[in-house]
């Protein structure tokens, strides 16, 4: 792998940047791998990267039906935070946050992780009680957090309407300074480049049509393009299509796939240097380095695999943003899109063994998977390498929906659920 550096940039400028090495290979798959990962999004690529780098399993293939990072990795609003209420979830997201903090150096790829802080606004007395409880829980878990009053919020975000003329006046907020945003595509590309450098085969444009299961054990996958590809272990990281994959394996998952929409405005001058989320008014916004406002809110209420949603949902999102930021009322929107999110009844992921031996699922991240990308990949890689779930992943077994040990994160999961 070509090492990226300032010196390299200078060196390549002499040849007009025409001699850069390809970032990853485009290999033909082998007949057999130690581990096959189905799904080449951020989580799947992170899994492959950590498998090869940390756990020494390099005979790995990532099989992707489209192109790398073209699903929800390309469609989210790039927010990274770890201020979750319950210990199990807080530990998992904080594990990811710690990996984020060294990720650009680790990957030798600039993922543009910017710890610009995240505000979760409170507009009612109950909001403020919940915020105090969550911030205290965070601090007990070693996660940074503060409770701010409306005046302090106004100091951080001058353009936010903190007046008492608002329909739902801001009473305060939780503030996580280490939270922020990252460049979503760079995360997928960085992990892909790192995985490829460690010998992982990234197989694109190849749809898995079926899982090959013999005597209750998965032994490989069947693809239209390359036929059967065998593997000792298979990990499915297919987000919105997880239920479809589970059906191939003959079991059900407690997931529902919904469209989640987001939109960006035209680029404007820097005006918002942090992330602002409001569960109550129901919207969130940040500003990208390019200058566009990145805006999102809730899922469309119906099930859908169409990667698009309804106009009414967008309208509600924009109403919330204008309610919070009256100054944005004349900003024009540039693009709007949808992704398919696999929502779980308790707003927590499923990182789990399954009824089929050697088949593992990492899914159910719903509306908040991006922030967990490195952590999710790391614990899933550890689980796939050892054939036994990582301690941080254990509470997120799919069997929790049978024994009742749910991790109810609907509060901290935020706006989108």
């Amino acid at each position: 792998m070509q090492h990226y550096s300032g010196f390299g940039l200078l060196k390549h400028s002499f040849s007009h940047h025409e001699n850069w090495q390809r970032v990853w290979r485009n290999p033909t798959p082998k007949k057999k791998y130690d581990v096959i990962i189905v799904g080449g999004g951020g989580h799947g690529l992170a899994t492959a990267y950590y498998l090869a780098k940390e756990f020494g399993v390099t005979n790995v293939a990532v099989i992707e039906k489209g192109f790398l990072g073209g699903g929800n990795t390309a469609r989210n609003t790039t927010i990274v935070r770890s201020n979750y209420l319950w210990d199990e979830a807080a530990h998992l997201y904080e594990h990811a946050m710690k990996l984020w903090e060294g990720l650009s150096q680790d990957l030798n790829y600039n993922v543009m992780f910017s710890q610009r802080g995240c505000l979760n606004l409170g507009h009612t007395l109950q909001d403020m009680r919940d915020i105090e409880r969550r911030v205290n829980a965070n601090r007990l878990n070693g996660i940074d957090g503060e409770v701010l009053d409306a005046k302090q919020v106004q100091e951080i975000v001058p353009v936010l309407d903190c007046s008492d003329r608002a329909r739902y006046p801001v009473m305060g907020a939780s503030w996580q300074p280490r939270a922020g945003v990252a460049r979503h595509d760079a995360v997928a590309w960085g992990f892909a480049r790192g995985a490829d450098a460690h010998g992982v085969d990234l197989i694109q444009q190849t749809e898995v049509e079926d899982l090959i299961i013999e005597d209750g054990t998965v032994v490989g996958v069947r693809t239209a393009r390359y036929g059967e590809i065998r593997a000792d272990r298979v990990g499915c990281v297919v987000a919105g299509n997880s239920s479809v994959m589970a059906k191939m394996a003959g079991f059900e998952l407690p997931l529902e796939s919904h469209p989640l929409q987001a939109l960006v405005s035209e680029p404007i001058k820097p005006i918002l240097d942090t992330v602002v989320m409001s569960n109550h008014v129901h919207g969130y916004a940040s500003q990208s380095d390019k200058g566009d406002l990145v805006i999102g809110a809730g899922i469309d209420g119906y099930n859908g695999y169409g990667q698009r949603g309804s106009y009414t949902t967008i309208e509600h999102t924009i109403q919330a943003i204008v309610e919070m930021f009256p100054v944005f009322s004349r900003v024009r929107m540039n693009r709007q899109w949808g992704g398919i999110v696999d929502t779980c009844p308790d707003a927590c992921p499923i990182i789990s063994e399954t009824p089929v031996k050697n088949l593992f699922f990492n899914c159910g991240w719903g509306t908040g998977g991006f922030k967990a990308t490195p952590g999710s990949g790391h614990v899933f890689a550890a689980s796939l390498a050892k054939g036994e779930m990582h301690p941080l992943a254990k509470p997120f077994s799919m069997f929790r929906f049978h024994n009742g040990a749910l991790v109810d994160e609907h509060g901290a999961a935020g706006v989108a659920h």
Binding site: N241, S243, V244, K247, G306
Partner: protein
């Protein structure tokens, strides 16, 4: 944006008047005390999530406030039929889709 026919109002209305209320035809176990944890968990949390034909409840929240069933394709978003609670769908997934 859906244009949904409410079988109670006998009119097409815009999606904004309605609210999706999840999967249809879920039968509550007749004897909950006799359920195993697995059966009860599946009744509580496991919902059909097909890519294709799906039967779901909608409520005409800003209209007559009554519930009814919709058969809809979750891939194309096409609404195949609308029928009242207690009736059975006529459009159902074929064997390949329901595999």
């Amino acid at each position: 944006m859906f244009h949904i026919y409410c079988p109670h109002c006998c009119e097409y209305r815009e999606e904004e008047e309605f609210h999706a209320a999840g999967q249809s035809h879920i039968a509550r176990p007749l004897d909950p005390d006799a359920c195993t944890d697995k059966e009860w968990g599946e009744f509580m949390y496991f919902r059909a999530n097909p890519r294709g034909i799906h039967h779901e409840l909608w409520v005409h929240a800003a209209g007559c406030r009554k519930y009814f069933n919709v058969t809809r394709d979750t891939q194309t978003y096409e609404i195949n039929e609308v029928y009242k609670v207690g009736e059975q769908p006529t459009v159902v997934a074929n064997a390949i889709q329901s595999k």
